[in-house]
Symmetry: C2
Subunit: 351 residues, 2 copies
């Protein structure tokens, strides 16, 4: 198995990536492709101690950074011969020289590059950004968290199908429970999109548990929760912000005086679980579901440990034949008459 790691992804790149590449090859045995500017990476690798034939360095002098937007980003993503680490890395997946691409870089850049270079799985209209949310007792597969600010019911149906395959194949859940994020648990609640999606999910054959709210999502009552990319992005970012606010206030208060400082010291092990829960390294990376190739995006704040964890997630997906499973599921579902019929009916409301 060959994973390509984007050397220019994380906030502190390429240091963590180089370290992660070395650790991952040691840990998993397989060689790994590191893609990025050779003139920067070669000296770093030559200083490090590892088996030289385990890390294949592929030169990509250009990068996509946080400032790349709009047309500039589209060109870097799309252009034939683009030499960004993302373009070169994904081209290796396209040509079959690698099995999956892992990056901790600009999410929009990865999405655009994947969309233009790898395309979507036949039958998939919209690829979705996926995140693993830490919830009570584990994780929840949440999508779309930002690829598609405007969605139609059929897109949410496909997100649910793809999320189910991911939760089943990679996260090992036998019959993932699928929830539809809404502003109320009752069937009639929601905006027009949610109301149009509900009957599609009901008829989908998925393990649809109905509308869910924040309580059910973070309470661990669903394994997959779907929504449009605008709502999902706000959900993701506000959840992170609330968690940060609470941790910040608590930290400040714990440093208030000697008594609380001693208390904090004694209680330290208890805070470890919270920290782990909020640590991007724990979830590894989230897939771009619907892209016709395996692409995993880790958190920008990833360190080497988080990147190794991201590589591990990508390896699990390759081993589980995730891409084929997604292709099969999409094909099967598209052939189901009731789903397609109802989807078309619902679509008419939005066209």
């Amino acid at each position: 198995m060959r994973i390509v790691l984007d050397a220019m992804g994380s906030d502190d790149c390429p240091g963590p990536e180089v370290q992660a590449a070395i650790e991952a090859t040691g840990q998993f045995g397989d060689p790994l492709i590191l893609v990025g500017p050779a003139d920067r990476l070669k000296p770093m690798l030559s200083e490090a101690s590892y088996e030289a034939d385990r890390i294949l360095l592929v030169d990509a002098p250009d990068t996509i950074n946080m400032e790349d937007k709009g047309l500039k980003l589209a060109l870097k993503a799309k252009r034939r011969g683009s030499k960004t680490s993302m373009a070169v890395g994904m081209d290796l997946v396209l040509s079959g020289e690698a099995d999956a691409f892992v990056t901790a870089g600009n999410t929009g850049g990865a999405l655009a590059t994947a969309y233009y270079r790898l395309g979507t799985i036949p039958g998939v209209e919209r690829p979705a950004l996926t995140a693993l949310f830490p919830v009570k007792g584990g994780y929840c597969v949440v999508l779309d968290i930002g690829a598609n600010p405007e969605c139609k019911p059929f897109h949410l149906l496909q997100f649910a199908m793809m999320g189910t395959v991911y939760a089943n194949r990679v996260r090992g859940l036998p019959n993932p429970r699928v929830g539809l994020l809404s502003n109320g648990e009752e069937a009639g609640k929601g905006n027009e999109l949610v109301k149009g999606t509900y009957p599609l999910l009901e008829a989908s054959g998925l393990n649809f548990i109905g509308n869910v709210e924040g309580k059910e999502l973070f309470g661990g009552e669903a394994d997959v929760v779907v929504m449009d990319g605008f709502t999902g992005n706000i959900l993701l970012k506000s959840s992170e912000a609330v968690a940060k606010l609470i941790v910040d206030v608590l930290r400040q208060e714990l440093m208030a005086n000697t008594r609380t400082k001693i208390g904090a010291l004694l209680a330290k092990p208890a805070f470890a679980n919270i920290k782990r829960m909020l640590d991007p390294g724990e979830v590894g990376a989230a897939p771009l579901l619907g892209i016709n190739g395996l692409v995993f995006i880790g958190h920008g704040r990833s360190d080497a440990h988080a990147l190794v964890s991201a590589i591990h997630t990508a390896r699990q997906a390759v081993e589980a034949n995730l891409l084929e499973a997604l292709r099969d599921a999409i094909q099967q579902q598209l052939q189901q008459v009731p789903v397609r019929f109802q989807a078309e009916k619902a679509e008419q409301l939005y066209d």
Copy 2:
């Protein structure tokens, strides 16, 4: 000044309401109207010790409860002669016998009752449910958190105007900063609604600081943040759920062994601030902005302390002439040609 308190609002009603009525009259001096089933309330009041002429009991034998939905709720809210505590209480506001109505009851019920009985401020198309979010360094006025799952740009403009008046008059902020919740800070980011709203807010004369994400909202960088009611409801509920998850995990971990238990005991004062931050009693109550009368909704979990705080908030609004200020602001803004013109232009995209 006369505030009407719904005796049948909170989860444990009417005990907390009776106690709050007694405390509030003692604390604020003015008499207070308690509305609810007289046969239940009279015995409770006669057992209590207070100056009898300070609490005016108005009989309302019927209630709106959490099970009231759809047509049943609409009838209870709308029907002439409806004897729910909300209907009777708001009728007192309509007739001028009371200055503001306070309830900790069913939000949908309060909204429907207010909409049918008090109507909207002239020029306001949609009333908005408003919440005060605890954020870094204080509170943020957030609307709409659930009244309108589908909105147009003009509605969000009005929410921003009303939120600004509220933040200014009741929360005492001289020039409230207004943010538009979006999936990115840049001006071009957002779904169609956000993109349509942005230019309206820019031209509004409000202190518009642009798009905000969870980071800015919970970081205390805006005083008012507007959004459609679907997104706002999900924001509210998921934020509460994340906070609960973190507190639950922490509590569980702190009870893990003797060392952490002692640590927790010593660090206890530090947790008080978090608890206060998440305590509904601290924010008192949130207004139904856009209704042609002052209606305040407290949290269902309110105890007597929280209800007194809710009454206090309502009193501040009455003293600040909130309703007149809202009416004036709406009238002034509607007369501004550029805003109206741009609003109409933006509306066309959605009609």
